[in-house]
């Protein structure tokens, strides 16, 4: 059957057709749709785990139970799951175990641009790099076979351009009957005490040699012989750019790119006059080729930073004198300054009110002449929609480093002796991912910081996935919903408050009291994500007779409020008025209202 699938859908289907029994993931762009797709298939256990480490733990356990299992995560998620990932390489697998890392060259939606191919080398596991959805489907099935044949986890590395592109997939398999799960007791492998692990390490090294030999015959490691003098080694989507920009070149396309098929690479290099490597981000293949003594050129021509595109590959090649033809010039576009359209907190976003209060307490709003006061408060942030609180006019965020880091970092700022009051901002899903241990540290070691948990009832940034606080599973079934204030109390925080995100005066009072208090405190600010709230709503309107153009409401940074000559209007298509009402609470002249429904 021929169909269009995203890379993520193709991985899900490939795994399903390979007899996948258990899948676990934590949402993260660009990996999220893998687990979402699997959760729609019958006969597979699919879960949102609280974080990537737990997801991999669950998948590894299922593998040791004899079933095929998969854990999916974005690139930085593998940092969280790195601990079991490295050790699973020693322990090996029962049923095939595939770990999917979705890297994000170009940082479309990430905090860094790390190249996770290094993880394959560091943990000594085979690495597969699909270039499109067909390969994503095929390689996922092959990954399970490789995993079982060589008794190793396999790292399947996609990138945003593969994960989120839809390309044609010919599906060739049917889902097999699953084996009966059975845990094979094997403490010499699975109990990694030093004596056992010492014995396993040489086996890991031997396995590397065996997989390298297999890579020589792997069907998706192939040479496309061209007519020119150039020989290009490439992998992943870079293959497609290479194919278009260098139609004459010979190409060695690596699907199983680690461990490297040394003989194949040497033979390829011997048959060409000039050896290039086209790969995204780090010189992962290039450095290995050079270590073999081959005169490979890569990052001296193609950039190490950012996403490759046809244009980037072609322009780089032209600068290096590799292309004979000139690029035809294009008619210039008349330059008009175009206002940017960055992502913003949505109209009706429950995070806006908290940031508004902090922007006032922390003196972050610009003055009428555009100047700024010296900021107060240190506001340590975290990963989620609420990171957008950094944008003006709110500008009430001072850090965003990694999942769950806000609380520990806030404590560190205080322990360093900083005189400012310190606040940590963290979302519900992120708190349950890795914020709880930070909060435990705060209770255990003492401090006076305030932790604001922004509870919008979903994992919003990645597209509204369930989490342990929502009361729904990945499949949508009803399950236990964790009580976040009770967790905070259980961890040892005595001052735990709750506030409604859309009742601004009370929220302001609660936040100010908590921040001023010398005791460590938690404020859980509740308000449903505006994109999920299904209540009927009516847009707010401005009474022009009452509006005196003071601009107070514009300090909320709501996209529905539009500055006009002499006042403000509300975009009736964007405003969710009756489920929000913040601007009406901010307006000193009672000029904004929603009619009662």
């Amino acid at each position: 059957m021929r169909r269009l699938l995203s890379g993520n859908e193709a991985i899900a289907l490939g795994a399903y057709h390979a007899g996948l029994a258990v899948a676990a993931a934590y949402p993260g762009t660009p990996s999220t749709e893998i687990l979402e797709s699997i959760a729609r298939l019958e006969g597979v256990y699919a879960e949102w785990a609280p974080n990537e480490k737990v997801a991999l733990d669950v998948a590894l356990g299922a593998s040791l139970g004899g079933e095929r299992a998969l854990a999916a995560m974005k690139h930085v998620g593998l940092n969280v799951a790195a601990d079991p990932f490295f050790s699973a390489s020693y322990a090996g697998v029962g049923g095939g175990l595939v770990v999917v890392t979705a890297d994000d060259p170009g940082l479309h939606s990430s905090q860094n641009e790390q190249d996770n191919r290094h993880y394959a080398r560091a943990a000594k596991v085979p690495l597969l790099e699909p270039a499109d959805s067909q390969e994503a489907y095929d390689f996922t099935r092959l990954a399970f076979e490789i995993s079982e044949r060589f008794n190793t986890p396999v790292l399947l590395r996609t990138i945003t351009r593969v994960a989120h592109s839809r390309t044609v997939v010919e599906t060739t398999a049917e889902r097999p009957a699953l084996p009966r799960a059975s845990f094979k007791h094997n403490p010499q492998r699975y109990v990694l005490v030093p004596a056992h692990a010492r014995a396993l390490h040489p086996q890991v090294e031997e396995r590397q040699r065996q997989v390298a030999a297999y890579a020589e015959t792997f069907p998706a490691n192939r040479v496309e012989r061209g007519r020119g003098r150039l020989g290009i080694v490439t992998s992943s989507v870079a293959y497609h750019y290479t194919r278009e920009v260098f139609p004459e070149a010979s190409i060695l396309k690596l699907g199983l790119s680690y461990p490297l098929p040394e003989k194949m690479v040497r033979e390829f290099a011997a048959g060409v006059e000039r050896l290039l490597v086209v790969e995204e981000l780090d010189p992962f293949l290039e450095e290995q080729l050079r270590a073999l003594g081959l005169p490979a050129e890569g990052k001296s021509i193609f950039p190490q930073v950012g996403e490759l595109t046809l244009d980037v590959v072609e322009d780089s090649a032209r600068r290096a004198g590799l292309l004979a033809t000139e690029r035809p010039s294009l008619p210039a576009i008349p330059t008009v300054p175009l206002p940017p359209r960055p992502p913003v907190l949505c109209p009706g976003c429950p995070h806006r009110s908290t940031y508004y209060v902090l922007s006032l307490l922390g003196r972050r709003q610009a003055k009428a002449d555009g100047s700024h006061q010296a900021p107060q408060l240190a506001i340590m942030g975290d990963i989620g929609c609420y990171t957008l609180g950094v944008l003006p006019p709110l500008a009430a965020l001072d850090s965003c480093i990694s999942m769950g880091s806000s609380i520990g970092m806030a404590l560190g700022v205080e322990k360093a002796g900083v005189q400012d009051k310190v606040v940590a901002m963290i979302g519900d899903s992120t708190f349950l991912h890795s914020g709880m241990t930070g909060l435990l540290d705060l209770a255990y070691n003492g401090g006076s910081i305030t932790v604001i948990i922004l509870d919008n009832g979903t994992t919003a940034m990645t597209g509204h996935q369930e989490h342990p606080g929502t009361g729904r599973s990945a499949r949508g079934t009803v399950t236990k919903a964790v009580d976040i204030p009770a967790v905070a109390r259980a961890l040892g925080i005595e001052d735990v408050r709750e506030a409604n995100a859309f009742a601004l005066p009370a929220l302001r009072k609660t936040l100010k009291e908590a921040i001023d208090s010398p005791a460590p405190s938690v404020v859980v600010v509740r308000g449903l994500c505006a994109l999920r709230n299904r209540e009927p709503r009516e847009a707010a309107v401005v009474d022009p007779a009452r509006c005196n153009d003071c601009g107070l409401c514009l300090r909320l940074g709501c996209p529905a409020l539009v500055k006009r000559e002499g006042g403000v209007e509300i975009d009736q298509g964007l405003c969710v008025g009756s489920i929000c009402g913040l601007c009406g609470q901010v307006c000193a002249h009672h000029a904004i209202s929603t009619r009662e429904l």
Binding site: R161, D311, V336, L554
Partner: protein, 202 residues
């Protein structure tokens, strides 16, 4: 023969779905298709683009800058922003709709004038079609179908069979919105039939 399309708009306008409909329609007549979306954080009201490449054998999922045969935009500022994606002699289909970004609505920046948008497009486009997608959608009672109206407009210029579009819509649109979307598509297609008899020369 290869055709490259770039669809542009704002998060929430259904650009990804519009690209899916085009890609599926092309797939159904046996062509190779690749489609690539840029979203991620753009779901929160940011710029969104979706590229569709159709041909015998497509390699890169994204076309080269300045090589798109068609630019389809559901918002004017996003049309101007992506004007450089068009190849000389390309065709622009633009919804006559203005959605000011926060920098504009807060008064910190200016929205480009219609003349400026037109000039940016005219630097490359052989034809510019303005379509009242937003107005037609509101007349149909749901502004969210402006994307499908725009795709209906595009469909008039391509030789893909009508059933291919119908099937693509049926595959991607929930049952309860199906009739509305078929109607939206037909309205867009009819608008194109009217507009192409009197094209606006760039």
């Amino acid at each position: 023969m290869q055709l490259d399309f770039l669809l542009a708009g704002v998060g929430g306008q259904g650009i990804v779905l519009a690209g899916d409909l085009l890609a599926e329609a092309a797939l159904s007549i046996g062509l190779d298709v690749k489609k690539s979306d840029v979203f991620g954080m753009s779901q929160r009201g940011g710029s969104v683009t979706s590229a569709v490449r159709i041909g015998e054998r497509v390699y890169s999922p994204l076309p080269q800058v300045g090589q798109a045969h068609y630019l389809i935009a559901t918002e004017k500022l996003e049309a101007a922003r992506n004007a450089a994606q068009l190849r000389p002699g390309g065709i622009a289909i633009v919804s006559d709709y203005r959605l000011p970004p926060l920098a504009v609505s807060s008064g910190a920046a200016a929205y480009p004038s219609d003349d400026e948008v037109r000039a940016a497009l005219a630097a490359r486009a052989a034809r510019i079609y303005w379509i009242e997608a937003e107005k037609i959608a509101l007349a149909l009672g749901n502004r969210k179908v402006a994307n499908v109206i725009t795709i209906g407009f595009l469909s008039h210029m391509l030789t893909l069979p009508a059933e291919a579009w119908q099937e693509a819509i049926a595959r991607h649109v929930p049952q309860r919105f199906l009739a509305l979307n078929h109607e939206a598509f037909a309205r867009g297609r009819a608008a194109a039939a009217a507009a192409t008899s009197t094209p606006v020369e760039a």
